[in-house]
Point group: D2
Chain length 360, copies 4
Amino acid sequence: MSKRIGILTGGGDAPGLNAVIRAVVLTAGNCYGWEVVGILQGFDGLYHGLPVVPLIETSVRELLARGGTVLGAANRGSPFAHPIQRPDGTIEYEDVSHEAINRMTDLGLDALIVAGGDGTMSIAHKLVRMGARIVGVPKTIDNDLGSTDVTFGFDTAIHTATESLDKLQTTAESHHRVMVLEVMGRDSGWIALHAGVAGGADAILIPEIPFNIDVVCNKIRQIQSAGRHHSLVVVSEGAASIGGKQEFYIKESSQSGARLGGIGHIVGNLLAECVGAEVRVTVLGHVQRGGSPTPHDRWLATQFGSEAVHLVAQEKWGYMVALQGTEMTAITMEDAVKMKFVDPQGQAIRMARDLGIVFG
Amino acid sequence: MSKRIGILTGGGDAPGLNAVIRAVVLTAGNCYGWEVVGILQGFDGLYHGLPVVPLIETSVRELLARGGTVLGAANRGSPFAHPIQRPDGTIEYEDVSHEAINRMTDLGLDALIVAGGDGTMSIAHKLVRMGARIVGVPKTIDNDLGSTDVTFGFDTAIHTATESLDKLQTTAESHHRVMVLEVMGRDSGWIALHAGVAGGADAILIPEIPFNIDVVCNKIRQIQSAGRHHSLVVVSEGAASIGGKQEFYIKESSQSGARLGGIGHIVGNLLAECVGAEVRVTVLGHVQRGGSPTPHDRWLATQFGSEAVHLVAQEKWGYMVALQGTEMTAITMEDAVKMKFVDPQGQAIRMARDLGIVFG
Amino acid sequence: MSKRIGILTGGGDAPGLNAVIRAVVLTAGNCYGWEVVGILQGFDGLYHGLPVVPLIETSVRELLARGGTVLGAANRGSPFAHPIQRPDGTIEYEDVSHEAINRMTDLGLDALIVAGGDGTMSIAHKLVRMGARIVGVPKTIDNDLGSTDVTFGFDTAIHTATESLDKLQTTAESHHRVMVLEVMGRDSGWIALHAGVAGGADAILIPEIPFNIDVVCNKIRQIQSAGRHHSLVVVSEGAASIGGKQEFYIKESSQSGARLGGIGHIVGNLLAECVGAEVRVTVLGHVQRGGSPTPHDRWLATQFGSEAVHLVAQEKWGYMVALQGTEMTAITMEDAVKMKFVDPQGQAIRMARDLGIVFG
Amino acid sequence: MSKRIGILTGGGDAPGLNAVIRAVVLTAGNCYGWEVVGILQGFDGLYHGLPVVPLIETSVRELLARGGTVLGAANRGSPFAHPIQRPDGTIEYEDVSHEAINRMTDLGLDALIVAGGDGTMSIAHKLVRMGARIVGVPKTIDNDLGSTDVTFGFDTAIHTATESLDKLQTTAESHHRVMVLEVMGRDSGWIALHAGVAGGADAILIPEIPFNIDVVCNKIRQIQSAGRHHSLVVVSEGAASIGGKQEFYIKESSQSGARLGGIGHIVGNLLAECVGAEVRVTVLGHVQRGGSPTPHDRWLATQFGSEAVHLVAQEKWGYMVALQGTEMTAITMEDAVKMKFVDPQGQAIRMARDLGIVFG
C-alpha cells in the first residue's frame, strides 16, 4: 500500500543529516514506492504549518556530501512548550502538541521520521504515546547517546578537531609553545578524547573528569625537562576544575559579562602562570559542526536513513535506529535518550593514560 | 620485572602502522618501564640478522600522523620458506624458522609484537607453536579479517577513494560521462562497497558478487532516461564477471602481457560499447595505501598497539588484539586468519540495493 | 542602459568555471543591473538552440566552491565545422556560424561571455570578426595559455597531483619502491613540473624535454647508492622519449590496441627493467579535473568573471581577460591563443635541476 | 671555491620555512658543493652561541611538506637590542651585534641566509652595513611585504581560513545564523580579503578600511529581505571601526583585561544587537600558521631558497629574493621592508564590491 511519509530534522545540525534525508527518499522510493515530504525547521515547522517540500530523487541528488540540513534546524521550541509572548512582554509556554498531531493528519502523513538528539527523541516519544506514527534517527556530533555505538557527525567533528591539532603542533614546535584547543562537548568528552588521542595531545580535560590544573602543569614541566619544548592540551567546552584558582577566573570573567572567556581561555591563563612558556588558545567553535561529512559519516547516516524507512514499513512507532557493533538495530525512544558518558575508569581512558596523557 | 620487547611490521603497509609502533613504545615505557626495539623489514630482518633499532619516546614522537611504516615492510619471504638462489639459477625454499627463534634469543627479546595480515599471523602462529613469545596486531586496509570488526588503514583507504569519487562526480556531470573507478580489494569488496556508498556510486562491482555487465548497462540507461547524464561505477580490483563478453577482453589483454588492463579498464570498455556516452577509467592504485591515517585509524591503531603490550604483560602468546563493538579483545591467531567477505545477502548489500545501487 | 548578456563554457571543464559564472552574474547585477542567461553545452547549445537558463543571484549562490560547470561542457563541434551524419553513414562538416550569430540576436543578447581554452577562443575570435559581441575568459587546467600568467583550475590540479605524491611517498618508502605518477599535460609539462617540485619528485618527464630513460635509471641507482631505497617519478601524459628502447614498448602496446598503456606504464616498465626495485604506476586521470576549486582558483576565477563583465561594459569585443603579475588586463583573442610551454632553459627548470631533479 | 654557509629562520613561523631550508641545502650541495649549517632559534641562537646543526641531504629529506621550522623560531630579541635582566629586576637592552658578527666568523661561515619578515630584514640590513655577508628570504603569512608579489605561507593560511568558511557556511544555513570569522592580519587585510572572496563572505572588515558597523547590519538585513537567512562576515584581527558604538565595547573589554575579546567578538556582539538573528563567532588563531604548506607555497618557498643560494654565489650581500610576476628577482633589504597594504581604491577591493561584498 502506498504511503506518504514526512521527515524533519531537529536540534543542532550535524554533518550527515542531508545524507539521512537522501537515504530516506531513495529507500522509500526504490523499495516501497512511497512519497516523501520534508517538514521545514523541525517540529516548529510542523505545528506552525510551514509549507512542506516534496522530496524526490532529483531533489536529493547532491545531498550525500553536503553538510548541514536542507530542511533547516532553526527550531527552538517543543510542541509541548511553545513559547508565546504576552501583551505585557512576558513569555508563556503553551502545549500545542495536538496541533502538531492534527497537522500530520492534515498533511496526509502515514508516518514521520525525525532525526534528532535526546531533546527531539523526548518530544517524539511523547507524541507517539498520543498516537503519532513516528520513528527516530539518532543525531548528535557529541556521540553521547547511550543506545548506539556511534552517531554520524562525530567522525567529521573529530576530523576537523584533529586537523587543527596537526596544524597547531607544527607551530607549537617552532615557537616552543603550549597550545590549548577548546572543542565541543558540553556534557561529554568524546570529541576531546578521540581528537586528543588522534592528534597527540599531552593533556585532555573533559567534563567526566574534574581537573586539577597542577596535574597539567606538572605534565608540561616534565615534558620540558625531557627536552620537548611544546605541548598540546585539548579541553572540552564543558570541562571543569575540581576547585582552586581557576574558579577565580571563571568568577571574574562572568562578572565582566564575558561569554568570551570560555574554559579554553581559563585553562590557557592558568597554564601561562604555571609554566615558563607562551600559551596560545584556539576555540574551534562551530567549524566542528560544519563541512562535508566524512565517508564514515556518510555511510552511517545512509544506513540510518535507509533503516528508518524499513522501521516505518514494520510500523515500529516509537523506535529509533541504532548501530550495535556492525549491525543496525532498533530500540525504543524511551531507551534511546539515555546519555553515554566517557567512563573515567574505562578502557579508552586507561589506554590514553597508558600513552602518558593526563586528564588533570 | 623489566622486559625487552621487539616489534616488526609484515606484509603490505597500511596507514596507522606507525601509530601502532608509537603506542607500543609509549605504553611499554609508561606502564611497565620496558625497553622496545624495532626489527627492520619484517620477518626477513629477523632471520637475516639486520641491525635492530632502539625505540624510545623521542624516536616515535612524530609517528602518529605519518603514513607507511618506519620499520619497513619490504619483506618477501617467510622463515618457513626462505627463497635461496642456487648456482644454476633455480630458486629453492629453505626452512630457517629456527634461526628466527634463535635470533630472538640472541637479541634478548622477552617477547615480540608483530603487526601484519593473515600471512604474517600464520607465520607468527607457527613460531608460537615452536615456543616463541609473540602477540599480534591485525593489519589490512582491505578490512577482510574476520576476527575484528574493523582494521586500521581501511578508513583512510575509503577516504582517499571517496575523495576521488567526489572529484570524478563534478567532471562527469559537466561532460555527461560514465566514470569508472577501480579501487583495491583483490579478494573482498569492502573498500568498493563503502567508498561506493559514501561517494554516491550507481553500480559497485565486487569479488563476492560476480557481475553481469548488462545489469550495469541497463542501470546507466535507466539513469539517462530519467534525465541524469552521468554516472559513477566503482570496481574492486578483484571483481569478475559471471561469464560472457568480458572474458574475451580479459583473455585478450592478458595475451598482450598487459598487466595494464585491469578489471577497471575492461569494465570501461564494455560500458563504452553498451551505453551511448563517453566512459573514463581511473585506477586509483597505491595512492590508497598511503598518506596520513585518518583520526579514526590513528585511534584504532593506537588502541591496538597499546593493548598488544598488555597482552605481552599477560603472556598471551599466540593471541592477536581485535575490536568487537567498541571493546578491545584478544583472539587466538589461529582464529584470527579467517577472512571476512561481504555477504551478498547481508544488511549492507541490501541497504545499498535499497538506494538503487546495482551490483551487476 | 540595461543589457542582457549570455554566458557559455566551452571545452573540457576546469575547477573554477562555476565561480566564473557566479562572478559574472553578481557583477552584472550589482554594478550594471544587467540580466544574464546561461547557454547550455557550449557553442553547441547556441547553434542547436537549446533552451537558455536565466541566471540570478539565487541560481549562483552555491557555485563558488563547486567543481565542474553547471552549464555543461559536453560540446563537441564548432559552429564553423558542425558534424552532420549523411544517410550513407559518412560524416560531413557544415559551417553553421551564421545560425550561431542569428541565435544570439534571437535571444536578444547584447553580448556573450565565453569561458574556454584555445579552441573556444579561436571560434569566438572568428565570430567576432563576423560582428558578434563576445569577450573571453581563459580556461585550461594545463596552464599553457601564453597570454596570462596563470589560469584557474591549474592550482587545483596541482593540489590533487601533489596530494597523490605525498601519499605515494609514504608507501614507496615502506616498501622500497619506485613510484611513477602520470599526470595531465598533453602538450605542456606545467602540471608535472609544479606537482613534481611540490611533491619531491626525483625525475620529471615532460613533453618539452624528450627523455632518455637511462638518465632516469642512473638517477634512481644513484639515490639507492646513497642509501635511499625509494623514489618518485612524475610523467606528463604527453612526455616522449628521444629514441631507444621505449619506442618498442609504445609500438607493441599500440599493436594490442591498448589505449590502456599510456606513457606512465611505459616508463614504469622501462624502469622495472633497469633498476633493481619494484615499480608501481598510478595514472591519475580525470580526478585532476574535478573537485572543489582551491581558494587560489576561486579568487582567480572570480576576478576573471567579474572583469569580463567590465570588458562588456567597455565593448571590448574580441578581447579576453588575463592576469599579468597581480593585475587584471585584457588582450585580443588573437594574441590569447598563443601557447606557453615550459622553457627547457628557463628559470623553473634550472631551479628544479639545482635541487637534483632530472628531466631525462 | 668551497663555502660553508649558515641559515636561520626569524620571526613567526610560516608554512614553507622548512621547504626553504631544504632547497638551500639541496641547491648548495648540488650546484656548488657547499656545506650548510643551521643556526637554531634565529638571531638569538647566533649571538647566544647555541650549537649549530650540520644540514645534509638526509637531514632535509622530509622537510618539503612539513609545517613550521625545524630550526626553531622562538627568538625574541635583536642583536642590536638584546634584553638583559638587571639584578634589580629591570630590563636593559644591550647592543651585541658585534658578537653576532664574530660568531659568524668563529663558525667559519662564508655567508648567512636569513628567512624572515620585516623585523628580521631590518636586523640583517644593519649587520650587512657592518660587513656581514647576508642574503634574505621574505617570510610572512600576511603577504604584506611590498617588494614581492606574494610570500609563502599566505596561500596555506588562506586555505585554512577558506576551509573554515566552507564549514561555517553549511551550519549557518541550517540554523539561519550570522557567522563571524576572525582571521590573522594585524596591519593588513590580505588574508581576510582573499579568504573572504574565496569563501563567499558577505562582509569583510580589514585594517585598511575603517568600518561602520551599520553598513554591515544593513547588508545583512538586505540579504534577509531577499530570502537568504544566513550570512558570513570575515574580520581581520587588526580591523577597527571609524567610531561609534563599537569603541564602547573595545573600551569595556580592555577594562576587564580581556585579551579574550578580540575584534571578532566585538563585531559579533554589535551584529547580535542590530540584526534579528543568532550570531556565532570563531577566532581561527594559530591554526592559520600551521600545517603542511600547499603545493603553491612549497613551490614558492623552494624557488626562494634555491635562488638565495645563487645570490650568495653572486655575493649579493644585503639583497633579498623576491617574486615579480612569474620571475625570481633580487631587491635590497632596504627596499624589502616596505609594507604592502590593501588599496581601498584598488582593483581587488573594487572587484569584491562588484560582487556585493561590503567593507563597512
